[in-house]
Symmetry: C2
Subunit: 519 residues, 2 copies
Amino acid sequence: MFEVAELEQTVSTEEFQQQVPRLRERLLEAQARLQTAGFPVIMLFAGVDGAGKGETANLLSEWLDPHWIVTHAFGAPTAEEQERPEFWRYWRDLPPKGYLGIFLSAWYSEPLLLRAFEEISSAELDERLDKIVHFERTLVDDGALLLKFWMHLGKDQQEQRLTTLSADPTSSWRVTDRDWKHWRMYDKFAHAAEQMIMRTSTGEAPWTIVEGLDARFRSLKVGTALLGAIESRLDDEATAKKKASSGRKKKKKQDGRDAAKAVRPPTPKTVLSRLDLGSSLAKQQYREELEVLQARLNLLHRGALERRRSTIMAFEGWDAAGKGGAIRRITAALDARHCHVIMIGAPTDEELAHHYLWRFWRHLPRAGRVTIFDRSWYGRVLVERVEGFATQKEWQRAYAEINEFERELVEHGMVVMKFWIHISKREQTRRFKAREKTAYKRWKLTAEDWRNREHWNDYELAVNDMIERTSTTIAPWTLVEGDDKRFARVKVLRTVCERLEQALGMPVERELQLASGVQ
Amino acid sequence: MFEVAELEQTVSTEEFQQQVPRLRERLLEAQARLQTAGFPVIMLFAGVDGAGKGETANLLSEWLDPHWIVTHAFGAPTAEEQERPEFWRYWRDLPPKGYLGIFLSAWYSEPLLLRAFEEISSAELDERLDKIVHFERTLVDDGALLLKFWMHLGKDQQEQRLTTLSADPTSSWRVTDRDWKHWRMYDKFAHAAEQMIMRTSTGEAPWTIVEGLDARFRSLKVGTALLGAIESRLDDEATAKKKASSGRKKKKKQDGRDAAKAVRPPTPKTVLSRLDLGSSLAKQQYREELEVLQARLNLLHRGALERRRSTIMAFEGWDAAGKGGAIRRITAALDARHCHVIMIGAPTDEELAHHYLWRFWRHLPRAGRVTIFDRSWYGRVLVERVEGFATQKEWQRAYAEINEFERELVEHGMVVMKFWIHISKREQTRRFKAREKTAYKRWKLTAEDWRNREHWNDYELAVNDMIERTSTTIAPWTLVEGDDKRFARVKVLRTVCERLEQALGMPVERELQLASGVQ
């Protein structure tokens, strides 16, 4: 879940200095409109120590009109507070309509700490998180605009940050023993945080994960997100009013207004930019590895049947990325009676008449079997998002729906694997052209494939968001460097074997090595 | 929670025969419109054995066009089903758009049974219920119209029903040993069902509780509820479309259309009709009891302070029902430093700028103290509902919000008491007139009080719904017969004492009796 927030995103001083004055001006305008709009804004910051929760909150108070902002940090409950239910102090401090309330950690702090220190079980954490969901929903139902930011640092990044702060006498006071203690427990915190974010990223109050390494990046990211959320809510209400009073008007008028003051969120590196597309595998080595991996997979497949553990694989990737080829290298090692490949194209009439997840539910495998989806439920947040087939509300809600769907599968004992096969735009061109030339491959290429390329950047952003929001410990994404087909197929096969070995507790690799005399 | 569904509601044969043809005609019309409307209807029946779940489902299939209905009952999961996650079989059977799917018990069956047999704890039940809430929400978010009916019988009613069925050779096969076994466990089932209904009565998928004793009553109640829900959804969509295409139109046009075919839900007895307003207490007896009860309360109050258990009381009732007088008889026994009476009138500006529950959260007492609310958070589902200050969505959602609010209080250890003081309309007239005549009481009577009387029936219905949906084991309502003030005050005081004794584990009554030599 946090890979995307460890890409070392930065914003240059120039860009920052160019953007900030406009951003501040627009924030102040939005804040002025907010006062008569009749709803409160609640911002919540949680995250890794040192990732800039407090600094960002302070910066916002500086950028905005402080009369209408209140920031709340919470320590251990006071005697007064202990005498009331847990949420009493948060209720008390809720901002009135027209105000912006900034909450630091707040209701997320205790559950996260308790879980990281293993004082509560994962199920108990879920229970507490559900209470939070109730609470937040009550606020949003009443009209509050609730924005939640998880300020993130990778483990190494946090160490580096704490070290830097400690080294400087003017900031060393910021680093406490507690910070280092928590750093040593980083993995436990990250694990608990993932569960927390997954469960409380609801349609009405989603988390935004912000990489906290570069102060300019995080400030701009949070600032533009806040501005965007307030403006779009104010515009929605204005449009609704206008519609009610004078019928349909031309849309998008609001957008034109501020063209001169356009504010851009920082251009992010995506998680795909990290992949080394130069990875390749020589033919001979590919043949050898393929053979060993398929033997290994076959053993595991039989083991899974015996143990009645079923497997679900979802393949996504650019057109011509080689999904079909990778899938065939898997099915070659499986018993065809116990394995289904489902091509997901445009939905049938019957499927259209149901919930979008229904077509995936119906194809779930029986115990021990394998279902491979060539394209999957992720269409909702990829093609449907980019092409506008799903509304923004629908695809935003889909992340939580998908996480819940996969959780049900995993809790039932199914192994869930997800592959994104990535190729460069150049490689795609090459393959498209090759398809045009080869008669038996020509049917694979349609005008739509060329059209899709026009949205490459939108898709890349959608992929990035998808990985950030749905790559979980229980059902992680595997990103596959696909420019070299041999490399990609071997990586996919190896991942499948490793995930199965782990799930089944069957160290097949070792057995095979012994059998072939390799040590 | 179930008091309201044990009032022995009936519908006469004449009324039934008059209503049903119209109801069927309108249901068939609605069903025809539904086919092009693009959403499925999901009806779920759960409830007490013998309360008519299956019969009602069958009747609906008879009344409606069976082509577009599918009824699903579920036994223990088959092997096929066990190999998939719990909800797989429900997903599989979801109706497509335009169809009506009827589910019998379905996803509620197993959690309820497990809890009644104490195979899972109350917290584990909550966890399973939250999964159901997720599931239902996913369906509703996608547009499904979800209606849930709890078919109810009181314990005696169920016994009677099972006996009747057993006695008739044509129906005795319907009664199994299992039914009798469950009947003996009635209280456990009722307790689990209450928790279930409270937790899963969400704004988007509320339960309707239906008394199942009289077949005509329950059929008419379910039938009219189904019709109302489908028609209002279809009308909403039609209005939204019209609005979008041609600006604001005169509303309520739809309603006129069917005037000739008006269908009424059965006129319910309300829970208030059960109260014996003739209850009274002679002056001398009143004085004696008052003295003893106040002494008892004072002891308990001191015990609560020691034990740091706080108490919250909410008083609701008709204008001039005597709330103030009853409250003064309580405060007379309490230490004024540790007791607050909060009058809830029109909200202040500051309160208006917050969530409607905020003004109650802020007044929660410290440990051991008492807060008495003269009118309360129930205003949302009483005056705000009847006078239209809250939208239908808002007050419908409020039942769940209020239950959650009270649950947080009780889980924190607070004792929550709720009193509805009931008087007859005639008695109210008498008191109003008396107030007009007595100078020092005249300020109490406003023009508004007279106006409120015009909505008496609406209020009575709102009170009935309120009791049905918020009288829970952890925070039950006490209905007080108020035509005789002395009787009412003593009943309130006695209830307060009994609830406190129970909560504190302090059998003060016994102590006092011993002290005064009474056995």
